[in-house]
């Protein structure tokens, strides 16, 4: 709908709406309509809008957690949350991005804490490292050849991707594997588009370093 933006914040059971530039009367009637989904409508929306994305959602969860059991739990939690909060989903809007956002938030709130990775903020550490090397970054390139990448198999590319800190891994998954636009990624990740762009750039530099290690191990003189 034009003029209305809903921001869903799924954190525990907190559901938050921020309405931008719209008269309250319209907001209220909109809310009444939304809350007024019948059970049949809820199931119909769930099946038609949400279920088609379950493979992408599972793949995203698996790439985030790198663990099948955690991915199972994360996808299940996400879909149950999506159903519980279905009244805040506006039909005709981007269901996939909406679901990915819930999954990403669930991952941060519930799974990242218990994951084997050093507790959170590895992104900030890397970010800080990169920022401190901003000058060097100006001419920073990874000496890697395209034909070396072409000879890598999928498992090697996936392993290189999995070796990235999760925030960098996330932007590459969203952009290159799932094909989201920068604008969609900004909404999923709650960051400005400029940050999407710079984070992608850094993520790809890191990925190139990882790929270079594989290429070198295959005997390519990079």
């Amino acid at each position: 709908m034009p003029f209305i933006k809903y921001y869903l914040s799924v954190s525990g059971t907190v559901l938050k709406f921020v309405v931008v530039s719209i008269p309250m009367s319209v907001v209220m009637s909109e809310a009444i309509i939304k809350e007024g989904y019948t059970d049949d409508q809820r199931y119909e929306i769930f099946n038609r809008e949400f279920m088609p994305h379950i493979d992408s959602m599972y793949n995203f969860a698996f790439r985030l957690t790198t663990d099948e059991d955690d991915a199972n739990d994360l996808v299940q939690d996400t879909y149950l949350k999506a159903f519980r909060f279905i009244s805040s989903f506006e039909q005709g809007t981007n269901a996939k991005a909406w679901l990915f956002r819930i999954l990403k938030n669930s991952f941060i709130n519930d799974y990242r804490k218990k994951s084997k990775e050093p507790s959170k903020v590895d992104y900030q550490e890397v970010e800080t490292t990169y920022n401190s090397e901003e000058a060097a970054d100006t001419n920073y390139t990874v000496d890697l050849r395209a034909d070396a990448v072409q000879d890598l198999i999928g498992d090697e590319v996936a392993t290189a991707l999995n070796a990235l800190p999760v925030d960098f891994r996330t932007v590459i998954i969203l952009c290159d594997i799932e094909g989201f636009t920068y604008e969609e990624m900004a909404k999923i990740l709650d960051i400005p588009i400029g940050t999407v762009r710079s984070r992608l750039h850094r993520a790809r530099n890191l990925l190139k370093e990882k790929l270079k290690n594989y290429a070198s191990s295959m005997g390519y003189d990079a």
């Binding site: 199931y43 599972y58 793949n59 991915a71 879909y79 290159d176 594997i177 750039h201 190139k208």
Partner: protein, 96 residues
Amino acid sequence: MNAPSNRPSAEGEKQEQPMKQHCEHHAECIKKIQAILDGEATESEKEHFRLNMDKCMPCIQSYHLEKCIKEALHNKVLRKPCPDDLLAVIKAKVNS
């Protein structure tokens, strides 16, 4: 005024200047190249790309490298489908 009449051919040759082997702002160029490949470049970035892309060897190589990596991620990395039993659990819980 005669001199300019000789210029066109000279300039024509000048267009075939040697390919740049070093890019002094390569990090910025890579950002533009990535935006192009992501389909997210601005008009000015597209124009810059169009005018300069065939003049700089490091940028040409980077374009091919970035394109290969993007294609490898999209086409080679195995996509894990949702297991059937998880699908069944979700449907059962939603319907309960």
